[in-house]
Protein backbone atom coordinates (compact mmCIF):
# COMPACT_ATOMS: atom_id res chain seq x y z
CA UNK A 1 0.00 0.00 0.00
CA UNK A 2 2.90 2.34 0.67
CA UNK A 3 4.26 1.89 -2.83
CA UNK A 4 5.31 5.11 -4.52
CA UNK A 5 6.73 5.58 -8.00
CA UNK A 6 9.03 8.20 -9.51
CA UNK A 7 7.49 10.52 -12.05
CA UNK A 8 8.59 13.54 -14.05
CA UNK A 9 6.76 16.82 -13.53
CA UNK A 10 5.58 18.06 -16.93
CA UNK A 11 3.27 20.91 -16.00
CA UNK A 12 2.06 22.72 -12.88
CA UNK A 13 -1.27 24.45 -12.45
CA UNK A 14 -1.86 25.77 -8.96
CA UNK A 15 -1.42 22.82 -6.61
CA UNK A 16 -1.93 20.22 -9.32
CA UNK A 17 0.85 18.80 -11.48
CA UNK A 18 0.75 16.74 -14.63
CA UNK A 19 3.35 14.04 -14.20
CA UNK A 20 4.62 11.35 -16.49
CA UNK A 21 5.10 7.84 -15.15
CA UNK A 22 6.65 5.41 -17.61
CA UNK A 23 5.19 7.26 -20.55
CA UNK A 24 1.73 7.67 -19.02
CA UNK A 25 0.52 11.11 -17.97
CA UNK A 26 -1.55 11.62 -14.86
CA UNK A 27 -2.36 14.23 -12.25
CA UNK A 28 -0.61 14.51 -8.93
CA UNK A 29 -1.49 16.91 -6.14
CA UNK A 30 1.29 19.15 -4.84
CA UNK A 31 -0.43 19.81 -1.51
CA UNK A 32 2.25 17.80 0.29
CA UNK A 33 5.16 19.09 -1.78
CA UNK A 34 4.59 22.71 -2.77
CA UNK A 35 8.23 23.39 -3.67
CA UNK A 36 8.23 21.41 -6.93
CA UNK A 37 9.24 22.81 -10.34
CA UNK A 38 8.59 21.59 -13.86
CA UNK A 39 11.28 19.09 -14.83
CA UNK A 40 11.75 17.73 -11.30
CA UNK A 41 11.43 14.05 -10.65
CA UNK A 42 9.06 13.35 -7.77
CA UNK A 43 7.91 10.28 -5.88
CA UNK A 44 4.14 9.86 -6.33
CA UNK A 45 1.92 7.98 -3.89
CA UNK A 46 -1.88 7.75 -4.00
CA UNK A 47 -2.16 10.77 -6.27
CA UNK A 48 0.20 13.00 -4.29
CA UNK A 49 3.79 14.06 -4.93
CA UNK A 50 5.61 13.03 -1.75
CA UNK A 51 9.24 14.01 -2.29
CA UNK A 52 11.67 15.31 -4.89
CA UNK A 53 13.99 12.59 -6.14
CA UNK A 54 17.62 13.69 -6.03
CA UNK A 55 20.67 11.87 -7.27
CA UNK A 56 20.22 8.42 -8.63
CA UNK A 57 20.30 4.95 -7.33
CA UNK A 58 22.89 3.74 -9.82
CA UNK A 59 25.37 6.26 -8.42
CA UNK A 60 24.69 5.09 -4.85
CA UNK A 61 25.20 1.50 -5.84
CA UNK A 62 28.45 2.42 -7.55
CA UNK A 63 29.65 4.27 -4.47
CA UNK A 64 28.99 1.20 -2.36
CA UNK A 65 30.85 -0.93 -4.89
CA UNK A 66 33.85 1.35 -4.45
CA UNK A 67 33.48 1.25 -0.67
CA UNK A 68 33.52 -2.54 -0.61
CA UNK A 69 36.66 -2.41 -2.67
CA UNK A 70 38.55 -0.13 -0.34
CA UNK A 71 36.86 3.23 -0.94
CA UNK A 72 35.43 5.54 1.77
CA UNK A 73 32.15 4.84 3.58
CA UNK A 74 29.12 6.17 1.75
CA UNK A 75 26.53 6.42 4.53
CA UNK A 76 26.39 8.04 7.90
Amino acid sequence: MCLAVPAKVMEIEGSLATVEIRGVQRKASLMLLPEVSVGDYVLVHAGFAMQIVTGDDAAETEALWREMNGGPRTVE
Binding site: M1, C2, L3, A4, S29, M31, L32, L33, P34, L43, H45, A46, G47, F48, M50, Q51, I52, V53, T54, G55, D56, D57, A58, E60, T61, L64, W65, M68, V75, E76
Partner: protein
Protein backbone atom coordinates in the same frame (compact mmCIF):
# COMPACT_ATOMS: atom_id res chain seq x y z
CA UNK B 1 32.43 -0.01 -19.55
CA UNK B 2 30.69 -3.21 -18.55
CA UNK B 3 26.96 -3.33 -19.14
CA UNK B 4 24.68 -2.42 -16.28
CA UNK B 5 23.00 -5.73 -15.52
CA UNK B 6 26.34 -7.51 -15.43
CA UNK B 7 27.70 -4.95 -12.99
CA UNK B 8 24.55 -5.28 -10.89
CA UNK B 9 24.80 -9.07 -10.82
CA UNK B 10 28.43 -8.93 -9.81
CA UNK B 11 27.71 -6.36 -7.13
CA UNK B 12 24.84 -8.46 -5.79
CA UNK B 13 27.13 -11.47 -5.59
CA UNK B 14 29.80 -9.44 -3.84
CA UNK B 15 27.30 -7.94 -1.40
CA UNK B 16 26.05 -11.39 -0.49
CA UNK B 17 29.56 -12.81 -0.12
CA UNK B 18 30.62 -9.86 2.04
CA UNK B 19 27.48 -10.19 4.16
CA UNK B 20 28.25 -13.87 4.71
CA UNK B 21 31.85 -13.09 5.62
CA UNK B 22 30.75 -10.39 8.08
CA UNK B 23 28.34 -12.59 10.02
CA UNK B 24 30.49 -15.76 10.03
CA UNK B 25 32.49 -14.88 13.19
CA UNK B 26 29.22 -14.45 15.13
CA UNK B 27 28.78 -18.22 15.00
CA UNK B 28 25.01 -17.93 14.79
CA UNK B 29 22.49 -16.88 12.18
CA UNK B 30 21.49 -13.23 12.13
CA UNK B 31 17.86 -12.29 11.78
CA UNK B 32 16.69 -9.12 10.09
CA UNK B 33 13.08 -8.02 9.91
CA UNK B 34 11.52 -6.07 7.08
CA UNK B 35 8.61 -4.00 8.27
CA UNK B 36 7.04 -2.99 5.02
CA UNK B 37 4.72 -5.14 2.93
CA UNK B 38 6.26 -3.76 -0.24
CA UNK B 39 9.67 -4.96 0.95
CA UNK B 40 8.17 -8.38 1.68
CA UNK B 41 6.86 -8.69 -1.85
CA UNK B 42 10.11 -7.43 -3.36
CA UNK B 43 12.20 -9.87 -1.33
CA UNK B 44 10.09 -12.81 -2.42
CA UNK B 45 9.78 -11.73 -6.02
CA UNK B 46 13.54 -11.33 -6.41
CA UNK B 47 14.15 -14.62 -4.59
CA UNK B 48 16.49 -12.91 -2.11
CA UNK B 49 15.86 -15.56 0.52
CA UNK B 50 17.32 -18.18 -1.79
CA UNK B 51 20.31 -16.00 -2.64
CA UNK B 52 21.27 -15.27 0.95
CA UNK B 53 23.43 -17.68 2.93
CA UNK B 54 21.87 -19.85 5.65
CA UNK B 55 23.37 -17.53 8.23
CA UNK B 56 21.12 -14.63 7.21
CA UNK B 57 17.44 -15.04 7.96
CA UNK B 58 14.78 -12.61 6.87
CA UNK B 59 11.56 -12.31 8.79
CA UNK B 60 8.51 -10.24 7.93
CA UNK B 61 6.92 -7.86 10.39
CA UNK B 62 3.58 -6.07 10.73
CA UNK B 63 4.09 -3.88 7.67
CA UNK B 64 1.03 -4.62 5.61
CA UNK B 65 -1.63 -2.03 6.49
CA UNK B 66 -4.43 -4.23 5.21
CA UNK B 67 -3.22 -7.14 7.34
CA UNK B 68 -3.01 -5.22 10.61
CA UNK B 69 -6.47 -3.68 10.22
CA UNK B 70 -8.63 -5.41 12.81
CA UNK B 71 -11.96 -7.14 12.18
CA UNK B 72 -13.74 -4.43 14.12
CA UNK B 73 -12.75 -1.75 11.61
CA UNK B 74 -13.90 -3.89 8.69
CA UNK B 75 -17.18 -4.53 10.51
CA UNK B 76 -17.67 -0.78 10.92
CA UNK B 77 -16.85 -0.12 7.26
CA UNK B 78 -19.32 -2.81 6.20
CA UNK B 79 -21.98 -1.37 8.51
CA UNK B 80 -21.55 2.10 6.98
CA UNK B 81 -21.60 0.62 3.48
CA UNK B 82 -24.98 -0.90 4.33
CA UNK B 83 -26.56 2.53 4.95
CA UNK B 84 -28.67 3.60 1.97
CA UNK B 85 -27.24 7.14 1.88
CA UNK B 86 -23.56 6.13 1.96
CA UNK B 87 -20.98 5.80 -0.80
CA UNK B 88 -17.81 4.18 0.48
CA UNK B 89 -14.52 4.95 -1.27
CA UNK B 90 -11.49 2.76 -0.67
CA UNK B 91 -8.21 1.48 -2.01
CA UNK B 92 -8.85 -1.77 -3.86
CA UNK B 93 -6.89 -3.93 -1.44
CA UNK B 94 -9.56 -3.53 1.25
CA UNK B 95 -12.37 -5.19 -0.73
CA UNK B 96 -11.58 -8.80 0.08
CA UNK B 97 -10.46 -8.30 3.68
CA UNK B 98 -12.69 -10.36 5.94
CA UNK B 99 -14.48 -8.71 8.84
CA UNK B 100 -16.02 -10.94 11.47
CA UNK B 101 -18.90 -12.00 9.21
CA UNK B 102 -18.40 -10.67 5.69
CA UNK B 103 -16.28 -8.42 3.49
CA UNK B 104 -16.79 -5.23 1.51
CA UNK B 105 -16.96 -7.34 -1.64
CA UNK B 106 -19.92 -9.22 -0.19
CA UNK B 107 -21.50 -5.93 0.90
CA UNK B 108 -21.06 -4.67 -2.64
CA UNK B 109 -22.66 -7.79 -4.08
CA UNK B 110 -25.54 -7.10 -1.70
CA UNK B 111 -26.07 -3.67 -3.23
CA UNK B 112 -23.79 -1.41 -1.20
CA UNK B 113 -22.16 1.45 -3.13
CA UNK B 114 -18.44 0.79 -2.64
CA UNK B 115 -16.05 2.47 -5.07
CA UNK B 116 -12.36 1.83 -5.55
CA UNK B 117 -10.22 4.96 -5.81
CA UNK B 118 -6.58 5.40 -6.74
CA UNK B 119 -6.23 8.50 -4.59
CA UNK B 120 -8.28 9.64 -1.59
CA UNK B 121 -8.73 12.90 -3.56
CA UNK B 122 -10.87 10.97 -6.07
CA UNK B 123 -13.53 10.86 -3.35
CA UNK B 124 -14.18 14.58 -3.62
CA UNK B 125 -15.72 14.72 -7.13
CA UNK B 126 -17.90 11.79 -6.05
CA UNK B 127 -19.06 13.80 -3.02
CA UNK B 128 -19.65 16.83 -5.23
CA UNK B 129 -21.76 14.82 -7.69
CA UNK B 130 -23.81 13.18 -4.94
CA UNK B 131 -24.86 15.94 -2.53
CA UNK B 132 -27.61 13.77 -1.02
CA UNK B 133 -25.11 11.02 -0.10
CA UNK B 134 -22.40 10.75 2.52
CA UNK B 135 -19.08 9.83 0.93
CA UNK B 136 -16.79 7.99 3.35
CA UNK B 137 -13.15 7.28 2.53
CA UNK B 138 -11.57 4.31 4.32
CA UNK B 139 -8.42 5.95 5.59
CA UNK B 140 -6.11 2.99 6.11
CA UNK B 141 -2.34 2.90 5.91
CA UNK B 142 0.85 4.06 7.57
CA UNK B 143 2.69 7.38 7.63
CA UNK B 144 3.08 7.31 3.85
CA UNK B 145 -0.64 7.28 3.20
CA UNK B 146 -2.00 9.24 6.17
CA UNK B 147 -0.90 12.66 4.83
CA UNK B 148 -2.79 11.99 1.58
CA UNK B 149 -6.00 11.47 3.56
CA UNK B 150 -5.27 14.52 5.72
CA UNK B 151 -4.71 16.62 2.58
CA UNK B 152 -8.01 15.34 1.21
CA UNK B 153 -9.80 16.50 4.36
CA UNK B 154 -8.26 19.96 3.90
CA UNK B 155 -9.18 19.97 0.21
CA UNK B 156 -12.77 19.06 1.14
CA UNK B 157 -12.80 21.98 3.57
CA UNK B 158 -11.45 24.34 0.91
CA UNK B 159 -14.11 23.16 -1.53
CA UNK B 160 -16.82 23.66 1.08
CA UNK B 161 -17.93 20.03 0.94
CA UNK B 162 -20.17 18.96 3.82
CA UNK B 163 -20.75 15.35 2.78
CA UNK B 164 -17.18 13.97 2.77
CA UNK B 165 -15.88 11.93 5.69
CA UNK B 166 -13.05 9.61 6.62
CA UNK B 167 -13.13 6.47 8.74
CA UNK B 168 -9.61 6.44 10.06
CA UNK B 169 -7.61 3.37 11.00
CA UNK B 170 -4.27 4.88 10.08
CA UNK B 171 -1.27 3.58 11.93
CA UNK B 172 2.21 4.61 12.94
CA UNK B 173 5.16 2.28 12.48
CA UNK B 174 7.52 3.24 15.37
CA UNK B 175 5.11 2.24 18.19
CA UNK B 176 4.68 -1.21 16.62
CA UNK B 177 8.46 -1.69 16.48
CA UNK B 178 8.66 -0.74 20.15
CA UNK B 179 6.09 -3.39 20.97
CA UNK B 180 7.96 -6.06 19.00
CA UNK B 181 11.18 -5.12 20.78
CA UNK B 182 9.52 -5.10 24.17
CA UNK B 183 8.34 -8.70 23.98
CA UNK B 184 11.25 -9.77 21.79
CA UNK B 185 9.33 -12.68 20.31
CA UNK B 186 10.68 -11.85 16.88
CA UNK B 187 14.30 -12.06 18.09
CA UNK B 188 15.68 -9.72 15.46
CA UNK B 189 19.19 -8.31 15.07
CA UNK B 190 18.14 -5.35 12.96
CA UNK B 191 15.38 -3.76 10.96
CA UNK B 192 15.11 -3.12 7.24
CA UNK B 193 13.18 0.12 7.64
CA UNK B 194 10.29 1.16 5.41
CA UNK B 195 11.58 3.60 2.80
CA UNK B 196 8.31 5.24 1.89
CA UNK B 197 7.25 5.69 5.50
CA UNK B 198 10.61 7.40 6.07
CA UNK B 199 9.98 9.70 3.09
CA UNK B 200 7.35 11.32 5.33
CA UNK B 201 8.72 10.74 8.84
CA UNK B 202 12.40 11.12 8.01
CA UNK B 203 15.08 8.62 8.96
CA UNK B 204 15.35 10.43 12.31
CA UNK B 205 11.99 8.99 13.38
CA UNK B 206 13.79 5.67 13.87
CA UNK B 207 16.64 7.04 15.97
CA UNK B 208 15.01 5.50 19.05
CA UNK B 209 16.02 2.04 17.80
CA UNK B 210 19.75 2.42 18.47
CA UNK B 211 19.24 4.89 21.31
CA UNK B 212 16.79 2.90 23.40
CA UNK B 213 17.23 -0.66 22.18
CA UNK B 214 20.75 -0.74 20.76
CA UNK B 215 19.08 -1.96 17.57
CA UNK B 216 20.45 -1.26 14.09
CA UNK B 217 18.12 -0.06 11.37
CA UNK B 218 18.65 0.75 7.72
CA UNK B 219 16.17 2.73 5.66
CA UNK B 220 16.07 1.49 2.10
CA UNK B 221 14.18 1.38 -1.17
CA UNK B 222 12.43 -1.45 -2.93
CA UNK B 223 14.75 -2.61 -5.68
CA UNK B 224 16.44 -5.94 -4.90
CA UNK B 225 19.83 -4.22 -4.94
CA UNK B 226 18.67 -1.62 -2.43
CA UNK B 227 17.41 -4.34 -0.13
CA UNK B 228 20.69 -6.25 -0.43
CA UNK B 229 22.55 -3.05 0.40
CA UNK B 230 20.51 -2.64 3.57
CA UNK B 231 21.16 -6.25 4.56
CA UNK B 232 24.89 -5.71 4.07
CA UNK B 233 24.74 -2.55 6.20
CA UNK B 234 22.84 -4.36 8.94
CA UNK B 235 25.39 -7.19 8.86
CA UNK B 236 28.20 -4.63 9.19
CA UNK B 237 26.60 -3.13 12.28
CA UNK B 238 25.66 -6.46 13.82
CA UNK B 239 29.14 -7.89 13.28
CA UNK B 240 30.72 -4.84 14.90
CA UNK B 241 28.22 -4.81 17.78
CA UNK B 242 27.15 -1.33 16.72
CA UNK B 243 23.72 0.19 16.36
CA UNK B 244 22.87 3.14 14.13
CA UNK B 245 20.14 4.21 11.78
CA UNK B 246 21.58 4.40 8.29
CA UNK B 247 19.89 5.70 5.20
CA UNK B 248 20.42 3.75 1.99
CA UNK B 249 17.56 5.60 0.28
CA UNK B 250 19.07 9.05 0.24
CA UNK B 251 17.55 9.90 -3.13
CA UNK B 252 14.16 10.46 -1.47
CA UNK B 253 14.55 10.07 2.31
CA UNK B 254 15.76 13.16 4.13
CA UNK B 255 16.68 13.12 7.83
CA UNK B 256 13.66 15.31 8.58
CA UNK B 257 11.32 13.62 6.08
CA UNK B 258 8.69 15.76 4.39
CA UNK B 259 7.94 18.67 6.74
CA UNK B 260 4.90 19.86 4.74
CA UNK B 261 3.32 16.42 4.96
CA UNK B 262 4.07 16.19 8.66
CA UNK B 263 2.62 19.65 9.32
CA UNK B 264 -0.54 18.69 7.49
CA UNK B 265 -0.82 15.46 9.44
CA UNK B 266 -0.50 17.34 12.71
CA UNK B 267 -3.13 19.81 11.59
CA UNK B 268 -5.81 17.20 10.88
CA UNK B 269 -4.94 14.25 13.07
CA UNK B 270 -3.97 13.41 16.60
CA UNK B 271 -2.33 10.24 17.92
CA UNK B 272 -4.62 7.72 19.55
CA UNK B 273 -4.31 4.22 21.02
CA UNK B 274 -5.09 1.81 18.23
CA UNK B 275 -5.86 -1.85 17.78
CA UNK B 276 -3.62 -3.86 15.45
CA UNK B 277 -4.56 -7.31 14.32
CA UNK B 278 -2.25 -9.71 16.05
CA UNK B 279 -0.56 -7.09 18.21
CA UNK B 280 -3.50 -5.82 20.23
CA UNK B 281 -3.95 -2.23 21.32
CA UNK B 282 -0.72 -0.22 21.06
CA UNK B 283 -0.53 3.15 22.83
CA UNK B 284 -0.44 6.20 20.54
CA UNK B 285 -0.01 4.03 17.47
CA UNK B 286 -2.96 5.29 15.46
CA UNK B 287 -4.22 8.55 14.02
CA UNK B 288 -7.65 9.99 14.63
CA UNK B 289 -9.15 13.15 13.17
CA UNK B 290 -8.69 15.88 15.78
CA UNK B 291 -11.36 18.12 17.24
CA UNK B 292 -10.91 20.95 14.75
CA UNK B 293 -11.76 18.62 11.86
CA UNK B 294 -14.20 16.35 13.65
CA UNK B 295 -16.99 17.19 11.24
CA UNK B 296 -15.09 15.10 8.67
CA UNK B 297 -14.84 12.08 10.97
CA UNK B 298 -17.76 9.75 10.33
CA UNK B 299 -17.07 7.85 13.56
CA UNK B 300 -17.68 11.10 15.48
CA UNK B 301 -20.51 12.51 13.36
CA UNK B 302 -22.52 9.33 13.02
CA UNK B 303 -21.18 6.49 15.16
CA UNK B 304 -22.17 3.03 14.05
CA UNK B 305 -22.66 0.13 16.39
CA UNK B 306 -21.07 -3.19 15.62
CA UNK B 307 -21.20 -6.32 17.72
CA UNK B 308 -17.96 -7.35 19.36
CA UNK B 309 -16.10 -9.49 16.88
CA UNK B 310 -16.47 -13.07 18.06
CA UNK B 311 -14.98 -14.95 15.20
CA UNK B 312 -13.55 -18.35 15.95
CA UNK B 313 -10.84 -19.26 13.51
CA UNK B 314 -7.63 -21.22 13.38
CA UNK B 315 -6.00 -18.35 11.47
CA UNK B 316 -2.64 -17.48 13.02
CA UNK B 317 -2.14 -14.24 11.15
CA UNK B 318 -1.46 -12.47 14.44
CA UNK B 319 1.59 -14.59 15.17
CA UNK B 320 2.73 -14.29 11.56
CA UNK B 321 2.54 -10.49 11.84
CA UNK B 322 4.70 -10.55 14.96
CA UNK B 323 7.30 -12.69 13.22
CA UNK B 324 6.87 -15.44 15.79
CA UNK B 325 5.73 -18.16 13.40
CA UNK B 326 6.01 -18.59 9.67
CA UNK B 327 2.91 -19.15 7.52
CA UNK B 328 3.67 -22.83 7.02
CA UNK B 329 3.18 -23.37 10.70
CA UNK B 330 -0.46 -22.40 10.24
CA UNK B 331 -2.55 -25.56 9.76
CA UNK B 332 -4.71 -23.81 7.17
CA UNK B 333 -1.85 -22.57 4.97
CA UNK B 334 -2.29 -23.81 1.40
CA UNK B 335 -5.17 -26.02 2.47
CA UNK B 336 -8.24 -24.18 3.76
CA UNK B 337 -6.47 -20.90 3.12
CA UNK B 338 -5.27 -19.91 -0.35
CA UNK B 339 -5.35 -16.49 -2.04
CA UNK B 340 -8.57 -17.24 -3.96
CA UNK B 341 -10.27 -18.35 -0.78
CA UNK B 342 -8.43 -16.63 2.04
CA UNK B 343 -9.24 -17.20 5.67
CA UNK B 344 -7.11 -14.39 7.06
CA UNK B 345 -5.94 -10.99 5.82
CA UNK B 346 -2.30 -12.14 5.59
CA UNK B 347 -3.44 -14.29 2.67
CA UNK B 348 -5.90 -11.75 1.24
CA UNK B 349 -3.54 -8.89 0.72
CA UNK B 350 -1.01 -9.05 -2.08
CA UNK B 351 1.43 -7.64 0.46
CA UNK B 352 0.48 -10.23 3.07
CA UNK B 353 3.18 -12.56 4.32
CA UNK B 354 1.05 -15.67 3.82
CA UNK B 355 0.21 -14.63 0.26
CA UNK B 356 3.90 -14.03 -0.51
CA UNK B 357 4.83 -17.45 0.91
CA UNK B 358 2.08 -19.11 -1.05
CA UNK B 359 2.85 -17.36 -4.31
CA UNK B 360 6.62 -17.63 -4.20
CA UNK B 361 7.04 -20.86 -2.28
CA UNK B 362 8.67 -19.19 0.69
CA UNK B 363 12.30 -19.43 -0.32
CA UNK B 364 14.29 -21.90 1.70
CA UNK B 365 11.58 -22.50 4.28
CA UNK B 366 13.64 -21.86 7.35
CA UNK B 367 12.18 -18.50 8.09
CA UNK B 368 11.27 -18.25 11.75
CA UNK B 369 12.93 -21.62 12.48
Amino acid sequence: MADKTKVQRELAAQLIAETERLVAPLGRPVRFMEVCGTHTVSIFRAGLRQLLPDTVELVSGPGCPVCVTPDRYMDQAIAYAGEPDVILTTFGDMLKVPGSVSSLNEARAGGADVRVVYSPLDSLPIAMANPDKKVIFLAVGFETTAPTAAATVLAAEQQGLTNFYVLSAQKLVPPALRLLLADNEARVDGFILPGHVAVVTGADAFAFLPREYHMPGVVTGFEPMEILRSIYRLAQQTAAGEARVENEYGSVVRPEGNPAARRLLARVYQPVDAEWRGLGVIPASGLMVNEAYQRFDIAAVQPVKVLPAAKKTACRCGEVLRGSINPRECPLFGKGCVPEHAVGPCMVSVEGVCAAWYKYGGGRFHYGQ
